[in-house]
């Protein structure tokens, strides 16, 4: 299969991720959509590495996974802290700071 097919799938994944961020209100789901954007990039990296016959792209994916894992840890902690103060993870209720 040509590499462009994989890229197309990764683009679809990316767009789904972006739309998810825009339409969902639950902080955790928004975060999962962001993870989907990251994974779209991972797929693109792997596909490109295969096309280039390089290992670099595949190694990048590991780095990205580490970053994503770190973000999960921090993100969930932030969301939990928020939940403890507000008993809600609805991002639309987080609106103290404005204008």
């Amino acid at each position: 299969m040509p590499t462009t097919y994989y890229l197309a799938i990764s683009a679809v994944l990316f767009i789904i991720g972006v739309l998810g961020v825009l339409v969902r209100r639950n902080a955790i789901i928004i975060f999962m959509c962001i993870e989907m954007m990251f994974n779209a990039a991972n797929l693109a990296f792997v596909a490109a590495a295969r096309d280039l016959k390089q290992m670099n792209g595949q190694v990048f994916v590991f780095f990205v996974m580490v970053v994503a894992a770190a973000e999960v840890a921090v993100g969930l902690a932030i969301i939990v802290a928020l939940f403890r103060n507000r008993e809600s993870v609805d991002v639309d209720e987080v609106n103290l700071l404005k204008y």
């Binding site: 961020v21 825009l22 339409v23 991002v91 987080v94 609106n95 204008y99």
Partner: protein
């Protein structure tokens, strides 16, 4: 003695008063400040005497001294030194600044002694600290040998002016006026800065004059003119653009249309500040800058015409507005705007000597008028409304006589200082050959404005000092000011009487010594385009004499006639103010009422309305508009994360569309 001492001494005064002023007992900070400026004046005087001793100026070997104190930045093509230039032009400016500055410091010691806005005297030292800092920055402005250093001084005096206008910050109007002055000046300043940067782009240097093989920005305009008109810069107007931008800066600092609105408001500051900053020195910085850049302006005749028109309009407009005001300081403020208009007429006509001469004489008589007004306000415990004054001549002899002399000088009554300098400008405007018809119209406007000047000055004098007291209570308590205030008045009044004789017009029969001013100054400026030694060789151009004589007499007549007419107006006006509706029995008065007064006052009242509602309203309106845009824009900050994400996504979509989809 190095030139930087002139800057350093007042700076030292600022540091001492700024750090320890609060701990020193009352008159002492003023004494320290006065001594600092006095010492600077002595240094300046010695250096200028040294300069004139070596006065053998030729075109090849100009009479100038450059002293570098410190290399400030040296980056690739940009090298800026903190170095000072003393030539005939900066010599005159620095003498005026430190000399009149010293007198005003002295006066301030008395004036600020019992300040009813600051009974505890907590601000006293701060006042003198700012005043000293102002002198230091003003000296930097005129002594700088490059545009960037001049700009630093330019902004520095703006900052000091801001703090001094807002000195009585408890008064709402003072705080507002200081903010307005600062912000309006920024507009001009950034025009100036753009002009400087374009000039640098075109010439590759910021120094006025080069040394050795590296030419300065103002040297060799013949070759530079090609640089100016080449490439992108040329397409944008080249030298005309640069000079216009420089003039925008001058407009802001020297209160010309449309950026003059801050100056009348600036009267909220203490009166000596108005005298020093808003009459004698800072506001003339724009004139100085244009004169300094005469080489550029001579290469841009279009700009000169625009300057001349704006100067004439400002002079006329502000003169008429002055007629409609009753606040003793407001009248003087509008008068300053008007006189600055005259100076720019001179610049626009290419008569730089005449313009600087007017700066010089104006500094004396206007400072004296302001200080006299301050003395009156001091005597009347803060009263500024002229309708409540009158009959002060007997009570305040020294103030009366000095105010009369300097008032006559402002009115252009022969043979006082203002007569010679104003007449010189008007004569020069008439003489311009390019765009001659327009310049002749401007000349007529200038004559009319000179008449109006005499009118409002005479009116003011009569209202304040003449006639009978209109507010007995105020009059009872009026008293002459202490000598520390009257001595500066006398010195300045003497200046207002004699300085005119340094610049008597070039007409046959006048001894050479009476042209001292132009002999001293003219080597600094380039010849007016298309005119070889027009004023120096007046004998050759015999045809000019009749015009000159006619103008001279016309000017003198206008001065005196306007003065007496205005005086009558003031007496009548003042009487009417107390007894509304009373008709005067004097037939002359009836004549005024029917003609000049009815029409003239209607016009000037209309102009005052335009000034306050439209021009000021526009300047304020821009602010209000920006504020409303701001209030609307901040509503986009909704606090909802998803809205922010949507904003990002939309921005991303636009960027992707522009970059990738094509």
């Amino acid at each position: 003695m190095p030139l930087y001492l002139i800057v350093l001494l007042p700076l030292l005064g600022f540091v001492v008063n700024g750090l320890f002023g609060a701990k020193i007992k009352k008159p002492l900070p003023g004494v320290i400040a006065s001594l600092a400026v006095g010492a600077a004046f002595v240094v300046a005087l010695l250096r200028v005497l040294g300069l004139s001793a070596g006065n053998s100026a030729t075109a090849d070997e100009p009479n100038r001294i450059v002293e570098t104190a410190y290399t400030w930045m040296n980056v690739g093509s940009l090298r800026v030194d903190v170095s000072f230039l003393l030539d005939p032009l900066s010599a005159i400016m620095i003498l005026v600044i430190t000399g009149i500055g010293f007198l005003i410091h002295l006066y301030s010691v008395g004036y600020m002694q019992d300040d009813h806005n600051d009974p505890e005297g907590r601000l006293y030292a701060r006042y003198f600290a700012w005043l000293n800092l102002f002198i230091a920055f003003m000296s930097v402005l005129v002594l700088a040998d490059n545009y960037l250093l001049m700009f630093v001084g330019w902004e520095g005096v703006g900052l000091c002016s801001y703090f001094l206008i807002g000195y009585w910050f408890k008064r709402e109007d003072a705080a507002e006026a200081s903010k307005k002055a600062f912000i309006v000046n920024r507009i001009g300043d950034f025009g100036f800065l753009l002009g400087i940067m374009l000039l640098f782009t075109a010439t590759g240097t910021l120094r006025y004059f080069g040394t050795g093989d590296s030419p300065g920005a103002l040297d060799g305009m013949a070759q530079n003119a090609q640089n100016f008109n080449a490439g992108t810069l040329g397409m944008m107007g080249g030298i005309t653009l640069i000079t216009l931008l420089l003039f925008v800066g001058a407009c802001g600092k020297s209160a010309q249309i449309p950026l003059y609105t801050w100056l009348p408001d600036a009267m909220a500051g203490p009166t000596p500040v108005s005298a020093l900053i808003h009459a004698a020195t800072m506001v003339t910085a724009g004139v100085y800058m244009c004169a300094r850049s005469s080489a550029l302006f001579e290469a841009a005749p279009d700009t000169k015409l625009i300057i001349c028109i704006i100067g004439a309009l400002t002079a006329l407009f502000a003169g008429l507005t002055a007629l409609a005001h009753n606040d003793i300081k407001k009248v003087l403020a509008y008068s300053t705007v008007s006189q600055l208009g005259f100076m720019f007429m001179g610049i626009g006509a290419g008569a730089y000597v005449a313009a600087i001469f007017h700066v010089f004489t104006h500094a004396f008589f206007k400072a004296c008028l302001f200080l006299g007004a301050g003395s009156v306000i001091h005597a009347l415990h803060g009263e500024q409304d002229m309708r409540k004054m009158g009959g002060l001549a007997a009570k305040m002899k020294a103030t009366n006589i000095t105010f009369l002399l300097s008032g006559l000088a402002l009115a252009g009554a022969a043979p006082l200082a203002g007569f010679f300098s104003k007449d010189e400008i008007i004569a020069e405007v008439w003489k311009v050959q390019a765009f001659a018809p327009i310049y002749q119209i401007i000349g007529v406007v200038a004559l009319v404005t000179a008449f109006i000047t005499a009118l409002y000055t005479g009116r003011q004098y009569a209202q304040v000092f003449g006639g009978k007291p209109r507010d007995e209570h105020l009059h009872e308590h009026a008293h002459e000011s202490p000598p520390v205030m009257t001595i500066p008045l006398w010195i300045l009044a003497a200046g207002a009487v004699v300085t005119g004789f340094f610049g008597v017009p070039h007409i046959p029969g006048v001894p050479e010594q009476l042209h001292a001013f132009s002999n001293w100054l003219s080597p600094v400026f380039v010849e007016r385009a298309g005119e070889a030694h027009a004023s120096a060789d007046a004998a050759v151009h015999g045809a000019e004499h009749p015009v000159n004589w006619a103008l001279l007499f016309l000017g003198g007549a206008i001065g005196w006639a306007g003065w007496f007419l205005g005086r009558a107006m003031g007496l009548r006006d003042g009487a009417r103010a107390v007894l509304p509706g009373s008709t005067s029995r004097l037939s002359l008065d009836a004549l005024y009422n029917a003609t000049v007064v009815r029409f003239g006052f209607a016009l000037s009242a209309a102009l005052r309305w335009i000034d306050e509602k439209i021009v000021d309203g526009f300047v304020n309106g821009v602010g209000v508009f920006v504020g409303q845009v701001s209030a609307a824009l901040r509503l986009t900050q909704t606090s909802f994360v998803r809205n922010y994400a949507l904003g990002m996504a939309l921005g991303a979509a636009i960027i992707i569309a522009l970059l990738a989809v094509r």
